[in-house]
Symmetry: C2
DNA sequence: CATGTTTCTGCGGGTTCCCGCAAGCCTAAT
DNA sequence: ATTAGGCTTGCGGGAACCCGCAGAAACATG
């Protein structure tokens, strides 16, 4: 069994290397890649079926890399190894995992014990392992308490990109009013209101801009998600 | 000479510890803090004058911590040690550094040699050391090519927070029209226009929302800057 | 002082946004 | 079949936005 490590920070990379060797004495060679781009190539050439992947890398996002890898070989086992449990990441990962695939999501701050356990569970036992904190996030995320449906999330991204209602309607094949209704729901779930703190002056907040920041502050959105959405938008614009 | 290390990632922390010992054999004890909060406390109790500080930590931002430390003892020497050279960080640091203080900004990706050199230059020679990439950013930032004046930057933050023109005018003591003029400049510098890609449909972009995303994508804004601006805004709202 | 340059300000209009109201569709349950 | 609750859509109006035009104020320069 070979293992592929995709991680841009050299310190973390060598730490992972060490831990993999300890946790899986039976494993063969350990390949290393320092960004998603390179990770995809190595996964293809070495037919790696066991991958430890960082999210948030310079050249190419971990989620992007995982997606193309899984598209080619859906039975690949991937352990995501991340600094943060942002909802944007969790959502991004759970959106791309193929049916029945074994994967894991552990935080970099977990203990060595847990990391080793996760490595063995996923690579040997073929079981999913999700860190407690991350799972908590998932629960909250997909429940309806302040949780967003996929279509709402889509439109949240659209306004984050700066699209007009009209353009969103075109893109998502909805009427203008429906888009605005969705925005209404988003505003209420995000608890953004036109707080006229002092009655004398009018609204203090532009709701659509405010919603985006609140979403960022709540880690519903982050840079990676934005970047991905932006390239998708550009694609759509080209395709008219 | 004592040194204080403020860094939340244990791997990086121990690496720094090692490098400091190697680069500064003459130094005494090395204290460690794992977030900004703790860093401030340790700096105060140990009267540390030599600090290596990570930006981007959970409990309290490196910039925030540095500001309060410098406010108490402006001659403290701080080496910032960061993953990124985002303009938002560079701007944030250069905004708080006291006159004549020795400081440094090096990326985590630099070689050990350079790190050691930076440590000696700042802590022994009392010289400023700014990484090449960061300096390039500084040049571009404070030149007028797509560079923002401080007042423009202020207002960019305000719309990023979701404030209305009216509210911004109140806050910055400007007329409504002046705020809108500034926005005009911001839009043009960010090159956001109402690209009516296809003549049939109207504007595809809401300029103010679009400007914020473009700024994020260009790393003019980032999560830390947003968070800081948000607390300042809440403060202002309270103070009426 | 006269002059030009830059910034600030008010006015007015066209467009977009925010949202209450109400009428239509669909699914599900009584 | 009827009723109820949920989406979706249209209409309409008030508020906020985007922005051209032009005068007023602030500042520098000769």
């Amino acid at each position: 069994m070979d293992v592929l490590i995709v991680e841009d920070d050299p310190l973390h990379r060598s730490y992972l290397h060490e831990q993999v060797k300890l946790a899986l004495p039976e494993c063969g060679t350990i390949h290393e890649a320092e960004n998603g781009q390179q990770g995809e190539v190595l996964a293809r050439t070495h037919r790696s079926a066991h991958i430890v992947m960082d999210l948030q890398m310079n050249a190419r996002n971990g989620i992007e890399a995982a997606r193309t890898i899984w598209r080619e070989r859906p039975d690949t086992r991937i352990l995501f190894w991340s600094n943060y449990a942002d909802e944007a990441y969790v959502r991004g990962v759970s959106r791309i995992v193929p049916n029945g695939a074994a994967y894991g999501y552990v935080l970099k701050s977990t203990s060595e014990e847990r990391l080793k356990l996760a490595l063995r569970s996923i690579f040997i036992e073929n079981q999913c392992v999700i860190d407690n904190e991350v799972r908590g996030m998932q629960q909250r995320s997909f429940a309806q308490t302040s949780g967003f449906s996929d279509s709402e999330y889509e439109i949240l991204m659209d306004i984050a990109l700066g699209m007009t209602d009209r353009a969103i309607a075109d893109r998502r094949h909805l009427s203008l009013r429906s888009v605005q209704n969705r925005l209404q729901q988003i505003y209420s779930k995000l608890e953004v209101h036109q707080t006229t703190d002092h009655p004398r002056n009018a609204a203090a907040f532009n709701l659509r801009a405010r919603a985006v920041t609140v979403a960022m502050l709540r880690k519903l959105l982050n840079y990676g998600a934005l970047e991905k959405a932006e390239t998708e938008l550009q694609q759509w614009l080209r395709g008219h």
